[in-house]
Each structure stands twice: as structure tokens, then as C-alpha cells.
Symmetry: C2
């Protein structure tokens, strides 16, 4: 807590959130998706008020190419976690969707039984039209779900584009789903994911068991090539089949092992590191945004982009021209 | 060219540079390494004056783990390029070195014959102690070498850390050197490189030919997994041995194929794209630096970092606190 004034409204919201009120959680998620400054202030105040969860929570990214069976796996695995007494929140990022507000109903067709369960919460994430938009909202929704009592947060992303690499920086563990046709499928998965996957599940493994085992062996090799050796965790590969729940138990055990009691320190340190990175990235963004909204700076950047595009000017000269304006506005005589 | 005033000194330097005067090239490289603003202005003016090379140039990163034989390969391959009439510049980034000024003598022990050749230029790059320091200087040295008549620029980096990923964004092609003991060696190579390598050379291949061929097959598989399919170029793998020049011809042919006449358009478009990225990255950096040098902003960022580290505050609140100061200094009433 800081000495910043916290509004009564924020205190009310954070209290209701701590009681697990779903409508308040949904409202706070909407605040997270908003770009209005007063919403951002309110949400920051809410987050400043909520208590740290008393039990350790698990933040898990679930990623994989379209058609790999993410929704089915999440539904069935989620149901089994609910039976074990967990409270499960799913933040589903769908870059192909043009939803802006995000609504539980919007995703009901995909994860119906989970969305209807009282101990689960499914929230589609808006596909941000500004850079890092989705990431920003999702990053804020995670602590909100935890404040509302959810101990397991699944962040579902489609293995396309930059989103899942961003997501890796806001979760504890990455679960990668892949089809048994490893060669083709892995090619479709953008670089970056294989290196950070903590658990890899070969899905639809019952269709051709031998192919799935071959795929697992290839993936094992790729991981050995790509991941830096770690004393703390060795990535696991499991075969899973959502249709008849084959392998889901193995999948759950692999994830449980990641969050074993003796590894909680590692997870905690990783989160601290993530918080600092998040702040530095936020600071760079707001500085850049604020500067670019300044008329004179904006005009000069546009002018220089055009000159560069036309090949009329070398980059260092364009940079200097912008620097002059920036320093002028910050009122400096540069001495160096 | 812009309507910016260009000093007589810059005109003199650029003229001498175009005549291929090595001492002037070395002096300009020193300007590139300087963080003094007047040096940066002078260098930008020089770059604004020099003519675009009349012949296509080749910018090639040469990367690989320590001990893989980069220097030997560069010496022998470089010598053969000199015999073919090329003029070869080597910008050698050595992150372990604490040199600051950079000197030809400093690197003589490693690439002696090349450094002594009249048509070659070897320049160690300072290991920047500020973020992106090496990258910034090297990026500036490339067009300087081209202005001085060098048509082939080799940027040597050690396959450790972030440097070779940065370098990939300033060259046309990436050559990765790796030992025949692929499993171990590739693990040592940081992620990111395998995905962008255009030519991979298995070095010291004469020691155990069978092992080298096995390594090449494994690398082929890794590349197939990692690189997005391209219509324009398929990465090539060659076996090379600097000691007796075995395979160097094959290596040269692979690189020549990359720069074949019908691919010059691709290379040119890539360079245009790199120039725009360079500018945007420069703009972000100067905005961030200028802001962080402002006393009030700097103080607030430090204060918030400490609060975050102590876990006293959520990230969004820390961000908002910095935003308030930034907007206040840019004198805004925020309406959104």
C-alpha cells in the first residue's frame, strides 16, 4: 500500500471481490480491458486493496495451434481439477475474434460445462487493437481472479503470433499442446514457445498411438536442443486424449510436479522478476506514448519516417532530429 | 540529404572516407563508439554526405560458441575472398573484452594475416557497458566500411547472450558455426540463432567425418522445425574445416548463392525494413533516456522500483504514479 488516496468505490469493489462475487470480478475484468484513464486508476486502487491469496496459486498458459484441442483439454482437465476442490479461472485469448468487451456468453459454446460450473470462471480476452493490448488486460485479470478466490488460472492462447510469448512472461508454467503429426504441427508453432514449454502434451494420441510416441520422441529432442538446462525443472512430455480422458491424469501429474511444495520458492522468485519486468515495460510504454502524443514530437517523427522511407536521410540523422525536439521540450541544454 | 547544416569537417571526413583512407575510417568508427553528442552529430553528418555504394555490398554475421573456430574460418575464408577481388571488413564483437576504444592492434593476434592485408580492415568492437552499446556502434560502422569501399562486411559475434540476435537485425545473412558434437554445442547456442541462420557450417569436420555428418543431419532437422518456410531462401548446411581449407569453397558457394543477382531485391527490401526498425528503436531509446534523465521522473521511477521490490505496491499503481509525473512535465490535463 502507498499513501495514495484510495476511493470508497475501490474499497467496495475489492471487498466484494474478496467475497468471490462473480459479477464484481467480471466488472473488474472489464476495467482491465478499458483504456480510459479513470478505469485504470480505479483498477489500480482495487488491486492495491485486495489481500494476497493465503494459498499458493497456479498460473498456467495453455497454448497450441488451432485445432489441437485446447478447449476440450481445458474442459476435461478443468472438470477434474474442480472435482479435486480447485477453483479454476480460464482467460481465453482468441486473436481471430473481434469481440471488444468480452463476455462469458461469448465463449459458452466452446467451454460450456466449465463456464456453467460454480467454481469456474471463463473469460474471453479482447483482442487488443493496440500493441500489447491483450497482454495488458490479461496480466491484470490474473491477480483479479486470484483475489476472487481462484487458485488455478489457465491462460489459453492460440499458438500464432506474438501473444503466447508475451503470455509466458505472466504465468508460472507453460503447457504446449501439439498434434501427433509433429513435423507439420511444430512448424506451425511460432518460435519461442518450444523453448519455454514446461509441459508438452501430444493430443489426440489415441488416433495413432505409434505416431504420437514418435512425435513425443521428436519433441523430446527439440526440447533438449532448445531449452537451457535447468536444475530446477526438466520439461515433461505426455500423451493426452481429451475425448476419453486418456492421459489427462498424466498431464495433471506433470503440472502438479511443477508446482510441488519444494518448487514454490522458484515460482515466487519468478513472479517477483516478472513484476519488475512488467513495471519497466509499462514505464517505457507510457513514456513513448506520452511523447508521441506531443504534437511537435509526433510531427517530427512522422516527417523523419517519410524521409527514411524515401531514402533521403540516414537513420542517425533522423534520430538526431527527433532528439533535438525531445530535448527542447524537456528544456535542456545538452552538455555531454 | 536534409536541409540540415553539414559542417566542413563532416564534408572533409566523408570525402576522405570515400577515397578509402583507412585512418579516416578508423576515426569514424571511433565516432560511432563515442557516446558524446557532438561526435554523434558529426558522424550523422558524415553518413549524410557519403554516396551510396555503386556495387551491391554483403553484410554477413558470423556467429558461434567460443572455440568453434570463428577466427580461423574468417581468416581463411577472408583470404580467399581477397584473392577473388573482394574488399573485406571484419567487425569483431567480443563481449569478454573490456577494451573501450577499439584498436586494430588489439585483435592482431587473432586475425593477423587478414589485419595486415591492404584490402582488409579488422576492427574490434567495444563491448558496450550500456544496453545496446555494441549493437549501436556496429550498426554505424557497417555503412562506414561500405563508404570506404569494402563490399563484404563480416560481423563476428560470440554465440552467447543477446548480441547475436541484435546483430541479425543489421545484416543480410547469418552464418552459424557449430562443432560436430552437435548435441552439446547446440545447447550452448542461445535460442534465436538457429531460427535465423541462413548458412550453418559444421567446423573441424575433418576430425571425425561421420560425427560431422550426423551433426549436420540433426541441424537440418532443427532448422526444419524452427525456421518458417520461405520461398526465397532455404538454409544450407555445409561441413567446413579451416585448418586445411576443406569445405571453405562450399561455404563460400552457399553465401554466394544467398547474394545471387536474383535475390538482391529481397536483400534490399530487408535493409529498408531494418532501417525503419532501427529508427523506431532509436526513437524509443532516446525518449526513454531523455525522460529518465529528468530529475523528477527519475526519482519517481527509483521510488516505485523500491516499493515494488519490497512488495508494497501493485505494478499498475506504480505505473500510474510514474505516469502522473510524466504527464505533469509534458503539461497535460488528461481528458481520456
Amino acid at each position: 500500500m502507498t499513501n495514495m488516496y484510495v476511493s470508497a468505490k475501490a474499497q467496495q469493489l475489492s471487498q466484494a471481490l474478496s467475497m468471490g462475487e462473480r459479477r464484481v470480478l467480471a466488472k473488474c475484468c472489464s476495467l482491465a480491458e478499458s483504456t480510459r484513464k479513470e478505469d485504470q486508476i480505479l483498477l489500480a486502487e482495487v488491486l492495491a486493496c485486495v489481500a494476497v491469496p493465503t494459498q499458493p496459486t497456479r498460473r498456467i498458459a495453455v497454448t497450441g495451434a488451432p485445432g489441437v484441442g485446447k478447449s476440450s483439454i481445458i474442459e476435461n482437465w478443468g472438470a477434474s481439477m474442480l472435482r479435486d476442490g480447485h477453483k479454476v479461472a480460464v482467460l481465453a485469448i482468441d486473436p481471430s475474434s473481434k469481440r471488444t468487451g468480452g463476455s462469458i456468453l461469448g465463449d459458452k459454446t466452446r467451454m460450456q460445462s466449465l463456464a456453467n460450473a460454480p467454481d469456474a470462471f471463463v473469460r474471453p480476452q479482447p483482442s487488443g487493437n493496440h500493441l500489447g493490448g491483450t497482454a495488458r488486460a490479461t496480466r491484470l485479470c490474473i491477480p483479479l481472479c486470484e483475489a476472487a478466490g481462484f487458485d488455478t488460472i489457465l491462460v489459453e492462447t492460440v499458438g500464432v503470433g506474438q501473444s503466447e510469448v508475451e503470455v509466458a512472461d505472466m504465468v508460472d508454467a507453460c503447457l504446449l499442446l501439439t498434434l501427433p503429426t509433429a513435423g507439420d504441427d511444430v512448424q506451425a508453432i511460432k518460435r519461442g514457445i518450444m523453448e519455454v514449454a514446461d509441459v508438452v502434451a501430444v493430443t489426440k494420441s489415441d488416433i495413432d498411438r505409434a505416431a504420437a510416441q514418435r512425435a513425443a520422441a521428436i519433441l523430446q529432442g527439440a526440447i533438449r536442443l532448445l531449452q537451457p538446462p535447468s536444475e530446477s525443472w526438466t520439461s515433461r512430455i505426455v500423451l493426452a486424449n481429451a475425448v476419453n480422458d486418456h492421459g489427462l491424469e498424466e498431464l495433471a501429474l506433470a503440472v502438479d510436479a511443477f508446482f510441488a511444495a519444494d518448487r514454490l520458492d522458484v515460482v515466487q522468485r519468478r513472479r517477483e522478476h516478472q513484476r519488475l519486468l512488467w513495471f519497466e515495460s509499462d514505464v517505457s510504454t507510457i513514456m513513448h506514448d506520452a511523447m508521441m502524443r506531443h504534437e511537435r514530437i509526433h510531427g517530427k517523427v512522422i516527417e523523419m519516417r517519410q524521409a527514411l522511407h524515401a531514402g533521403r536521410i540516414p537513420v542517425p540523422l533522423a534520430t538526431l532530429a527527433v532528439m533535438e525536439v525531445v530535448h527542447d521540450i524537456l528544456q535542456w541544454k545538452d552538455k555531454t
